[in-house]
């Protein structure tokens, strides 16, 4: 029910508490935090710059979020996606889904991150050690993960 696109870092505990406080119908909260992984085997810090499409990003994240609420009985949800330059270990993305029951919280959270990977207009430019940079290529595995949610209409529920 909330999406944010921002340069700034976020705190997972604060965000979960903000979603769950004052809502005692929530029994389970699943969160996923994506971090910049060090690809250089510790030789040096990796860094990347996340570019996005302002305007469309917000629209797509809101649409993905609405879809999750349509599929699962969620009490609350949140998507935060950062942009700009990030270094190894930095948080990139946060997805939270809160529901009376843990199954729904888990499935909705997984759906949100899978979907976001292929539908949210972000692009990663990785810096390499010699000062050059390259655009990260989309992974087929991410397309497959997102497609799973299309095929599986058994998960679709009345809103």
């Amino acid at each position: 029910m909330a999406i944010r696109v921002q340069r700034e870092d976020f705190d997972v505990g604060t965000e979960i508490a903000a979603l769950t406080d004052e809502n005692p119908r929530i029994g389970g909260v699943t969160s996923f935090t994506g971090l910049v992984r060090d690809m250089t085997e510790g030789a040096q810090t990796s860094a990347m710059t996340l570019e996005h499409y302002p305007g469309m990003t917000e629209k797509m994240l809101a649409a993905i979020d609405a879809e999750a609420h349509d599929r699962w009985p969620l009490e609350a949800s949140l998507i935060i996606h950062r942009y700009g330059r990030l270094e190894a270990g930095d948080r990139i993305v946060l997805v939270i889904a809160a529901s009376p029951h843990r199954d729904d919280a888990f499935e909705a959270c997984r759906f949100l991150i899978d979907w976001l990977k292929t539908r949210a207009p972000f692009w990663k430019l990785e810096e390499s050690l010699n000062g050059s940079s390259r655009w990260v290529e989309a992974k087929e595995a991410d397309d497959d993960a997102a497609a799973r949610w299309n095929a599986n209409d058994g998960n679709k529920r009345a809103g």
Partner: protein, 83 residues
């Protein structure tokens, strides 16, 4: 009409955002890309492989045959790598 380029499409065309007046021959995304390619070798090269390009029309995902009449904004970009 506004045209936006992201990621390596922005780098190769050398343009992030531009305002164009569409020729009447441009009806859909495919003919728009054909027309943009005529504007110089950097455009021709960046737009050569349309299988590597994703399109949004008025900030909604679109395909090569999406019609452009009444369109305010077209964006061209590679497959997304967020999350």
């Amino acid at each position: 009409m506004k045209i936006l380029y992201f990621a390596w499409l922005r780098q190769r065309t050398g343009i992030g955002e531009e305002e164009i007046t569409m020729p009447t021959a441009v009806r859909d995304v495919a003919t728009l890309i054909d027309w943009l390619k005529l504007r110089g070798p950097n455009f021709a090269e960046a737009l050569e492989d349309t299988s590597a390009i994703r399109v949004a029309v008025n900030q909604e995902f679109a395909t090569l045959d999406t019609e452009l009449s009444g369109t305010e904004e077209v964006a061209l970009f590679p497959p997304m790598t967020g999350g």
